[in-house]
């Protein structure tokens, strides 16, 4: 194991051994256990990024709340966006057990010191995007998240279990929305295809850089934080999604996508990594807008937080 690298001079070797034994037995690390600083730092980065993604993820779909075509669709979308907020809160709580405050986390999101998933920097100009996000984006999220239910850090795993139970509703409502549109007019079918064309590649990018360019993966797997590599999960998502696309009657926009009998898996084309890195580094279509919106909500809510604190203080005295 490599955790020893993190052991600062003076760290009790018994603590290190106890940590490594827990990890090697696939037991869980809990908040008050000793852990290497690198393990803690990696978790803070990963869980916070995940939490921020849920919070920012409310925006692309929130865009359609007041324009949903029926009361039924509006109620479903409201419930889904509320879930995203809830998921963000579960994950912020898990991050806080590692000694970071909620306020610091919000500030790191707004300042850009911490990232969120690049997928939420794409716009949602079409109502079909609500369905496509549920199907592809939440589908990709599920692929990523199911193995994280067994992650080595207890609070993170428990948050993921709650989240995964709810994500299934997200994916199914999206797919059902798209099925409904595909049974509609030619124009509606074209809307679905156009939306899938825009979201397919960004969905594949959600799994992160290819394994060759993912320097943190090996260490994260040794620590039991991650259970599979980015490319393994991406392949699993492609294999799951192809038959769903066929059932839906849409084409996935990749001329190289085909079944490989020998590998018993789908081959698919190369991701545009320049686009991926551009969006990660802040140059995507909506990066500035998403963060500005979050900052505005935080600033505009300041008086509410203050008023609630003042009320609580007065009642306590």
């Amino acid at each position: 194991m490599t955790a020893v690298d993190d052991a600062t001079p003076g760290t009790d070797p018994e603590l290190v051994a106890s940590f490594e034994t827990t990890i090697s037995h696939h037991d869980r690390i809990e908040p008050r256990d000793w852990m290497p600083e690198g393990y803690r730092r990696t978790l803070v980065r990963q869980i916070a990024q995940h939490a921020h993604s849920e919070i920012i993820g409310m925006q692309p779909e929130g865009n359609w709340l007041i324009r949903a075509p029926s009361l039924r669709r509006k109620a479903i979308l409201l419930a889904k966006v509320q879930d995203e907020a809830g998921h963000g809160l579960y994950l912020y709580s898990a991050t806080e057990t590692l000694g970071v405050s909620r306020k610091q986390l919000t500030e790191m999101l707004i300042s850009g010191a911490q990232k969120y998933s690049s997928i939420f920097n794409y716009p949602t100009p079409s109502y079909a995007d609500v369905g496509t996000i549920g199907w592809l984006v939440d589908g990709a999220a599920i692929c990523n998240q199911v193995p994280l239910c067994r992650t080595s850090y207890g609070p993170y795993g428990r948050a993921m279990i709650r989240i995964c139970k709810e994500e299934s509703f997200h994916q199914r409502q999206g797919y059902e929305l798209l099925m409904t549109m595909m049974r509609g007019t030619d124009e509606q079918r074209a809307m679905v295809q156009e939306s899938v064309d825009r979201f397919w590649w960004p969905s594949l990018m959600m799994f992160g850089p290819s394994d060759a360019d993912s320097p943190n993966t090996e260490q994260s797997m040794q620590w039991g934080i991650k259970r599979h590599t980015n490319d393994e999960l991406r392949q699993r998502f492609v294999d799951m999604t192809v038959p769903q696309a066929e059932a839906l009657g849409v084409t996935l926009p990749d001329p190289d996508l085909r079944w490989n009998e020998e590998r018993q898996a789908h081959d698919f084309g190369e991701i545009d990594w320049d686009e991926f890195w551009t969006v990660v580094k802040g140059g995507g279509p909506c990066n500035a807008q998403r963060v500005a919106h979050r900052k505005r909500a935080w600033d505009d809510g300041a008086w509410v937080r203050e008023a609630a604190s003042a009320f609580a203080e007065r009642n306590a005295s």
Partner: protein, 97 residues
């Protein structure tokens, strides 16, 4: 913009899944006071009928055992195997034991 006072305190949330079960810890949240903590707990942790009763308690009011004293604290139960029914050999043909 005026300075926001200190952060809202942290609360731990416990939910009784249904009648007859214990309250179980489900997570934590921030709230300005106890009543708000209860409302937030409802919204965050029981959106799908996960509970029939909620407890919230300030995290700072919880006293916890330290992981460092794990062995000494729990040792007294570790060496008292005679507290377990399996400690006693009873012939297989004795019924209802």
């Amino acid at each position: 913009m005026s300075q926001v006072r200190a952060e809202w305190p942290l609360y731990e949330v416990f939910v009784r899944g249904k009648r007859g079960l214990n309250h179980v810890h489900v997570g934590s949240l921030h709230a300005a006071d106890d009543q708000m903590a209860l409302r937030h707990a409802r919204d965050v942790y029981t959106r799908r009928n996960e509970g029939v009763s909620i407890w919230v308690v300030r995290s700072s009011d919880i006293t916890a055992s330290s992981p460092d004293e794990k062995d000494p604290l729990f040792a007294p139960s570790g060496d008292k195997v005679y507290r377990h029914p399996t400690f006693y050999d009873i012939p297989d043909d004795v019924p209802h034991m």
